[in-house]
Symmetry: C2
């Protein structure tokens, strides 16, 4: 920020700008805040960063972030190995888990395709997914549960192609009117999909 900033302060501001969504001004505000009011928080963050970099890796099966070879979900032998639900993030996986209706296995891509942001096939877990599908003979159905955004749909397209090329059954989460909503307030695209997918 200031040209007169001491070297260590400037280095901290530059390092903070490597966080997504943090620009020059936010980085300065964060650095001032930590050094003025929360030096304990700064040291705690430093230790948490080092501990996470050392101890967090990808689950060997589902590609989510885990501390052991396998994440708790993949280590659970009671999960149904014939279904594989592909999601974008651990948060999406957690949302599905909270419903309590899915007992199959997961694959977490850790992102979505977004060419405009420079996120291509090699930046998300597409290669590990292909490997998983090739080495897991029990899988019969791939449930594509990426988000219903432009990026999520593009990602779903590629995932579906991968799975179909291996002769697997591919399904996608149903689009439709959210539970508890009134038609008057639902957007037209959603109603159109709900009409087309009526059963």
């Amino acid at each position: 920020m200031s040209e007169a900033s001491p070297g260590r302060l400037r280095a901290l501001m530059q390092a903070l700008q490597r966080l997504p969504g943090v620009g020059q001004r936010s980085a300065a505000r964060m650095a001032y805040h930590l050094l003025q009011h929360d030096r304990d928080g700064a040291l705690q963050l430093a230790q948490a960063l080092q501990a996470a970099v050392q101890g967090v890796r990808h689950c060997a099966l589902c590609h989510t972030l885990a501390e052991d070879e396998l994440c708790p979900t993949c280590a659970d032998p009671t999960r149904d190995a014939t279904q594989l639900c592909v999601v974008e993030t651990p948060a999406d996986q957690a949302a599905i888990e909270r419903t309590g209706v899915y007992r199959g296995r997961y694959f977490v891509l850790m992102g979505h395709l977004s060419p405009l942001d420079g996120i291509g096939p090699d930046d998300i877990g597409l290669r590990p997914l292909l490997q998983r599908l090739q080495t897991a003979p029990a899988v019969q159905e791939v449930i594509v549960a990426t988000n219903f955004t432009a990026e999520g749909e593009a990602t779903a397209h590629v995932v579906s192609q991968l799975a179909r090329a291996l002769g697997l059954r591919v399904t996608r989460l149903a689009r439709g009117v959210p539970v508890g909503s009134e038609l008057e307030y639902v957007d037209l695209g959603t109603i159109a999909h709900a009409l087309a997918d009526r059963h």
Copy 2:
């Protein structure tokens, strides 16, 4: 974020939330980004945090953040010791320095009073400012250059009272129409101030 997050990942997300303006969702996004795409950046940030906490302190004279006993500006013997310009942040000081028209000394409060956010007199450098004014007999004029926001004006009021109680001359940056602007597009409060302060 996710209940299934490994402990180190959850600890990192919690530590990131100590940064101002970072909530649960941003913290999760930052943690995933660092562990997925920028582990070097994470380690660099950890080191920058530790180095700053160890090596950055307040300048003994002007209260800004500095690596030595005195910041470069206070260590400069050619600056005019009769004028003391009180600013909120190092960024504000840098803005005044860029004009090249001020050769006096500074005091950096490192914040502004904001009771609603729990920022009281002891959270910004008002006590060190009082001490500075009491122990710097050369100071004749205190130039209050806090921001023209509600918080900046409240801070200016307190700083002015402090300085006047010590018998010092207190001035405030002029409010008025910004250079290069057309009156038609200037807000009414600014025009009213510019009228009142006409000379």
